[in-house]
């Protein structure tokens, strides 16, 4: 039935290269930076720094991954992260809501924002791109209208638990990131929701024909992304000590790049959580390592563009050759 491939060996090597190339690349970067900065780069402190710096990116990327597996996109996440930070700040500072309740409400508002996008995409049938783009504009407008551009500061000390404090010497935000990643990983790989998300991405019509409620699952995937934005917002404003009305905006493009680069790790073009984390690590290690080497910020951008481009090129060439 299934023919044994003739070029078995040859294919395997190049397949490994594609499948693990991105990870090898990450390891390669580790080696290079360790060689260049032996005393600092591999120090525990610096590794924790790298992890802490990618927390926001990998949380946003993880939520986005779920949406992108379904074949959709979510352009709200940056604006949503900004807005939800303001929601959290306003709740605590303007309304005196306690930290734990603020956290819960923020995540719920994030979920609601996500479900808004989900409804627009799944039920109204607006193309995902423009639906989430315009909802993003809306969110950002509401954000500006409420804050008039002012950041909110003066949040209670305990709010630091999300992004400014340490637990056993490790920044708390890292724990939040790990927990969120694990939850979404389990969701995607061991539950019916996850199966359905992957199935929708693979063939939406077949999935619908199999009796799966595609619309409902789409909405849930946006909800996961929205909750991710909420968690990212909490950590971001806790880390900065202020809620900035535009703090999250710029994360969108990087998160998108992260998910795409992640798609080249492990699964050969399929988006996946572990890959997204690797993608975020690549960007994190690159930025940190280049700063350690005192490479000018400007050249860092070039390096970032090149690395992302190369990562996706390798996979793509591999795929094209297969055809």
């Amino acid at each position: 039935m299934l023919k044994t491939a003739v070029k078995d060996k040859k294919i395997r090597i190049s397949e490994y290269a594609t499948k693990y190339g991105t990870i090898l690349f990450l390891i390669f970067m580790f080696i290079v930076f360790s060689a260049l900065q032996p005393s600092t780069f591999l120090s525990l402190g610096n590794l924790l720094t790298i992890l802490r710096q990618i927390v926001i990116l990998s949380i946003l990327g993880t939520g986005l991954t779920v949406v992108m597996i379904t074949g959709r996109i979510d352009l709200t996440i940056g604006y949503a992260a900004s807005f939800l930070g303001i929601v959290a700040g306003a709740l605590m500072v303007d309304f005196g809501v306690p930290v734990w309740l603020t956290a819960i409400i923020t995540l719920i508002v994030g979920a609601i924002l996500g479900s808004l996008s989900g409804v627009a995409v799944a039920f109204i049938g607006i193309p995902d791109f423009i639906a989430t783009l315009s909802i993003g504009f809306l969110i950002s407008g509401v954000n500006q209208a409420y804050t008039k551009g002012h950041p909110i500061s003066g949040m209670p000390e305990e709010f630091g638990v999300f992004g400014a404090q340490f637990f056993m010497g490790i920044p708390t935000s890292i724990f939040f990131m790990i927990i969120f990643l694990i939850i979404v990983f389990v969701l995607l790989n061991y539950t019916r929701f996850g199966r359905h998300v992957y199935a929708i991405g693979g063939n939406e019509e077949s999935t619908m024909m199999s009796g799966v409620n595609v619309k409902k699952n789409l909405i849930w995937s946006y909800v996961v992304s929205g909750i991710g934005a909420g968690l990212a917002a909490l950590i971001l404003s806790s880390r900065l000590g202020t809620a900035h009305p535009t703090a999250g905006d710029d994360y969108l493009m990087e998160a998108l790049a992260t998910v795409y680069v992640g798609g080249t790790a492990f699964k050969n073009g399929e988006f996946n959580i572990a890959g997204t984390f690797v993608g975020a690590m690549i960007i994190g290690v690159l930025t940190n390592g280049l700063t350690l080497c005192n490479v000018q910020y400007y050249n860092q951008d070039i390096a970032k563009g090149l690395v992302i481009f190369l990562a996706v090129t390798i996979t793509s060439i591999q795929k094209t050759r297969k055809k």
Binding site: H196, N203, S206, T207, V212, E270
Partner: protein
Amino acid sequence: MAEQELAVQMVNISKYFGGICAVHNANLTVKKGTIHALLGENGAGKSTLMKMLCGLLKCDEGKVYLFGRESKIKSVMEAQVQKLAIVPQELALVEYFTVAENIYLGREQCNKLKMIDRQLMFEETEKVLRDLKIDLDVRAKVSSLSVSQKQMLVIAKVLSLNAEIIIMDEPTARLGKQEIDDFLKYMKYLRSQGKTIIYISHKLEEIFEICDEITVLRDGEVIATYPVAEITQEQLIKDMVNRNSESLDIRKETKILDEVILQAEHVSCDKMVKDVSFALHKGEILGFYGLVGSGRTEMIRALLGIDPLKSGVVTYKGKQVRFKNIRESMKAGLVLIPEERRKQGLVMNMSIRKNASLTKLKNFSRLGFIDQKKEKESILKSKDNLQLACASIENSAGSLSGGNQQKVVLAKFIDMPVDIYIFDEPTRGIDVGAKSEIYSLIERISGEGASVIIISSEIPEVQSICDRIAIMKEGEVVKILQPDEFRNAETILKYSIGG
């Protein structure tokens, strides 16, 4: 049985797509425990009617009753609850899932922790497939299956739902002869189990073999319903096309010239084509018969440079060639009318005119600018030439019926300097009337001196129009039959199955 219980009643159903009325005031009654055939030309509205029955489309007008109770099914989920299942016309599978995952998609088994129980899923799938006598590896990715295996998988998936009413929309279009026989037997078994089956097919033999009643649709309207015993093939065809059926046997007298225009020697490609050799003569119609997945399409694609050719020698008009892409082969005078009209033949949302001229825009343009008047004239001429039935050539290609779509694809390649026409499944899913029109077109083309290659999975088709028939099996040409050898269908089948 005196008063048989009614499984399905559809009353005064209508459906509109934009300005087009796809189903008009249709009535359908299906008795429980019978196999009920739906018959009609392409675009008659069979699939549309069935989609409304199982909630994939909304009825614009009319009511549906299941077992006497009004049904308001709005989705496949609700249909499944009502024990109603459909094998859709298009293959509906998630390619990168395994066989088991596809079968259980939508009703995955979970353990106490709400986690998916894969082991259980594999075991149950094995059981289901064994019951259905389908031989598939449950852990294989669907993308690695052949087309007919995929079709069997879709059928297995629907049957495993244990539905009471099963709709089959052209289930055998992608199956080989042996598989069809097994499948028809299984249909009879299901009927004996009291299941109700609505069966759509263009293959009249099948319908006469297994069905109890036949409903004929034409232009979205129900023409009549007959018990199968009381109707003849001629009457059915007349109902379908509203004209007397012409004989399909239009085979001309062989007049092959000795001159070889295309010769392939020991051609192989990555996708399973192995050591294929054949020669095509000038003015000849050469048929390629084989079971589905025997590599005919792959072989042609490699010859034309659409897919890479690994080894072998191709000689065209006396010169050795190796086309790098389809543009080169087209320029040289070889054209392919592909097997999947919707996917490969047409741009559905573009007008008929723009579709038909896409291959030859150069003829109407100067400095890159298109002379739209000239273009229009030329396409109007092709339209008459091919007897293309359409209100206007500015309508979208998607608004046409299957047969007429195929004519638009043909229109793309006439009025061009073509030496070899290659038809891949030229009549797949096309109704009887349109079929004979296509045949006479092919006839005409070859009469004008062009050579023709026809890939087909229907024995009567290759028998009736080809001068010689090459039989392919698992990527190899196992035999080339001369006219006196292929009069007997058994011979053709014997070579293609092996032995």
